[in-house]
């Protein structure tokens, strides 16, 4: 485990060094992430200027859900962008190289790229989450702080697991690029708002099949205790563990049907 962490650290810092060579790009990517998120918040503000709440959720609660989607996406980009390169690695047969090394292939895939736009997302999103937590109607006790930390960490694990699992589709479906995982990513758009506004099939989708609701809505509900959902914090780490195991399982099954490519 310690060796894995060390290797991961070395691999990812190499990627980071490589990307910093292109400074214009670095700045543009970070700027675009910040801009996208801020304009999203402007959108929410404009809505909440017209109406006081959406299904009982105020501006800061929705801003929290919104920012949770972006922060976890940012962590996924910055530290685990490699999941998005899986399709390319498979199509070009480059996974061969990874399989020959005496290091876990999942670790190598995860650390095969860095997305600097993640920094923009993490910084902006964290500031919004911080502000939201400060403005939400919560009485802060030690228990509450513990619960908050647990649900936030679970959210990150769930997001990485979703990214890895959805990109594994490339083991079976060739040549569609990143269109499918991109679509799964967009299912996350549902979870930017309280899931109570959706018809039941969407709720089942984001709470059960692709657990985006455990990244945004349920953490918000666990922290505020709204809709009698304070207990749901205990479910978050369980979902995180299940998602992670499922993603690793799918990756292993996919690896078995990997046939390399080219001549």
């Amino acid at each position: 485990m310690r060796r894995s962490l060390y290797l991961y650290y070395r691999l990812i810092s190499q990627q980071l060094r490589a990307i910093l060579e292109y400074q214009t790009d670095f700045v543009i990517l970070m700027g675009s992430a910040v801009l996208t998120q801020l304009l999203g918040i402007v959108f929410l503000r404009v809505i909440f200027q017209r109406i006081p709440d959406i299904n009982g959720w105020g501006f800061w609660e929705v801003a929290f859900m919104y920012a949770m989607i972006y922060v976890t996406e940012g962590i996924g980009s910055l530290l685990f962008e490699g999941t998005w390169r899986l399709g390319g690695l498979i199509n070009r047969g480059e996974l061969d190289k990874l399989l020959l090394r005496p290091v876990s292939p999942i670790l190598q895939v995860l650390s095969s790229a860095v997305g600097v736009n993640g920094i923009g997302n993490i910084v902006t999103g964290s500031i919004i989450i911080w502000q939201a937590l400060a403005h939400m109607d919560v009485s802060w006790t030690w228990d509450k702080i513990g619960i908050t930390v647990i649900v936030l960490l679970s959210a990150v694990v769930i997001r990485i697991a979703i990214n890895l699992a959805s990109n594994c589709v490339n083991f079976w479906l060739h040549g569609t690029g990143n269109a499918f995982p991109q679509m799964v990513l967009n299912v996350g758009d549902f979870a930017k708002y309280p899931i109570t506004i959706y018809p039941s099939f969407v709720r089942v989708l984001v709470a059960g099949f692709v657990p985006f609701a455990f990244i945004s809505y349920y953490p918000a509900a666990a922290i505020t205790g709204a809709n009698d959902l304070a207990w749901v914090w205990a479910l978050c780490p369980v979902v995180a563990v299940i998602s992670a195991c499922a993603a690793i399982g799918i990756f292993r099954i996919g690896l078995r049907s990997y046939e390399s490519a080219g001549n």
């Binding site: 970070m30 402007v42 736009n117």
Partner: protein, 265 residues
């Protein structure tokens, strides 16, 4: 450029879009997801309210439909095509061809639009069949105005996308530029929220920028929210922007092409 070359480029782009149909259909589903989540959001917002910012729920539903339509007209694929040409250096081959770069790209965009827009329309027809009380233009003349506005929307969007694509001459990646363009366009065109909802300062910004021509103008025309003279003025402003952006694109190209660097060979 000869019309024949223009048509053949269009044709090729159409075939290309058909060849990559799976990814386009997935892209369309992606738009559908975002429009579905917006639909649910607006349902919740209008819950228990007759009107918000002077719009009724029926008007809002039609508005969302127009948003979906204008989004599906010019897809991610058309957008990245220009950037990719510049970044991978294949623009060098284009420089050798006796074709105007901008017109050639317009031809390709129109070609993919014919396919993508057709699929988008099919989607909309299916949705409208299920959704009742969608407000539509009341007269053939209003339909004509809307058609002009929709064509103008495409012209403005092409102008903006082309300019954003050319910016790739100064960068080494396209994602940051395209993401920024999408974020700005979505908000200021009215793609996320009708301009009527905007606070004054933001509405003023939106009204002096070209983005409103993409969603706000066709949607206003579709909903018959303004009289004839006002409608013609909206279309004139929109096409004015389309022409200005076209010339800006020409200028930027001439400037950019001088500092082109292509690696390898």
């Amino acid at each position: 450029m000869q019309p024949r070359a223009f048509v053949s480029l269009m044709n090729r782009a159409m075939q290309n879009t058909f060849a990559y149909r799976t990814s386009y259909i997935i892209t369309l589903l992606t738009y559908f997801i975002s429009i579905l989540s917006l639909y649910a959001l607006w349902t919740a917002i209008f819950d228990g309210r007759d009107q918000v910012a002077g719009m009724s729920w029926n008007q809002m539903k039609s508005y969302l439909l127009i948003t979906f339509m204008t989004n599906s007209l010019l897809s991610w694929y058309s957008e990245t095509r220009i950037a990719t040409k510049i970044l991978d250096g294949s623009v060098a081959v284009d420089l050798l061809k006796p074709l105007d770069f901008q017109k050639a790209r317009l031809a390709e965009t129109l070609g993919s639009c014919a396919v993508e827009g057709g699929l988008g329309l099919l989607f909309i027809a299916v949705i409208s069949a299920f959704a009742s009380d969608i407000i539509t233009p009341h007269s053939p003349f209003a339909w004509l105005l809307f058609a002009l506005g929709l064509a103008g929307s495409l012209a403005v969007k092409f102008g903006i996308v082309y300019l954003a694509g050319l910016l790739c001459f100064w960068s080494t990646g396209s994602h940051g530029i395209i993401w920024s363009r999408i974020a700005i366009t979505n908000l200021l065109s009215g793609g996320l929220i009708p301009l009527a909802f905007f606070p004054d300062w933001l509405a003023q910004w939106a009204s002096v920028l070209p983005f409103q021509g993409i969603v706000h103008t066709p949607a206003t025309l579709f909903l018959d929210q303004v009289g004839t003279s006002e409608a013609i003025k909206l279309i004139a402003v929109q096409w004015g922007w389309a022409i200005a952006l076209w010339w800006a694109g020409k200028g930027l190209w001439q400037w950019a092409v001088r500092k082109i660097t292509i690696h390898g060979g």
